[in-house]
Symmetry: C2
Subunit: 158 residues, 2 copies
Amino acid sequence: MYGLPVPLENPPGSAFLLAAVGAHAAARFAERVAALDLTPPQVGLLGLIAASPGQSQQQVAQVLGMPPSRLVGLVDALADRGLVERRRNPDDRRLHALHITEAGRAVLDEIGAVGRAHDDALCRSLDADERETLRALLSRIAADQGLRPGVHPGYRSV
Amino acid sequence: MYGLPVPLENPPGSAFLLAAVGAHAAARFAERVAALDLTPPQVGLLGLIAASPGQSQQQVAQVLGMPPSRLVGLVDALADRGLVERRRNPDDRRLHALHITEAGRAVLDEIGAVGRAHDDALCRSLDADERETLRALLSRIAADQGLRPGVHPGYRSV
DNA sequence: CCAGAACGATTACAACTCTGAACGATTATC
DNA sequence: GATAATCGTTCAGAGTTGTAATCGTTCTGG
């Protein structure tokens, strides 16, 4: 989706600050995972498959809020690199159950380190208490706004 | 840029929460301004022209961090609706100085109301003190991360 | 048991946006 | 006065995303 270049007022409201800092955080994270030859959607998909393995692509697509046709390319990229595998469900051979591989789990560990470094770099101007305060406030907003915990709303539709 | 669908860990770090809530805020704001037949980039451009009129398109493009060729279409859309006008600089007739019109200022007022409503809706679960705390923390991060105050980093390049 | 509808995954196609180079017009430099 | 540089614009190419058609599989009703 689009970004908002400039604020409407001075000082900028919380919503504008949130969008700006959030976009910055996303961009920096994208830079970091690019060093692992991954895009943020691939990272998110890998994490979701690891968190709840065996789901069908349609289920995953609905959770992420993206059209199933788009998931195909993402899964292809991860499967070609051996990080994920599609297993046909013997009971219903239409479904492709998604599972993470050992290599995928190893990459996920690297991603975890990258994520922690990213988090530290972003919040380096805040002390531990302030970080916790920020997390609490953001979590409250997320819950109030109906964001499913842990799912990034960067994919519209649904 | 991309969004990150799912977090790497539980509980999600501040960076992930920021990206998620920020994307949500941007998406909701886009919905609101769509009712005015505007896109967020158009809104940002209109606000910037109002805040510092008379600038050339190249200057504006550099401030927003987007290629000048992209600005053309944005300015066209606003100029076609009479919200903005290009004035040739008599001293240097290569430059198109951008100015906001009366109609543009009226639309900007509507945008301001939309923005305040958006802000209130987003932060409705926070009281006044908490909103101020959130704004202070986000401002600190933005300053530390080198975000020019008031400019949304949603346009890479530069 | 069989024909047709329903469903999951994939592919194909079209619409859209963005980027980068090329182009006329104008101005600065030597 | 000729050449280079600048500004705005245009154009073509690449990349991305959503919709619709396709293929194999499974469910449903007679």
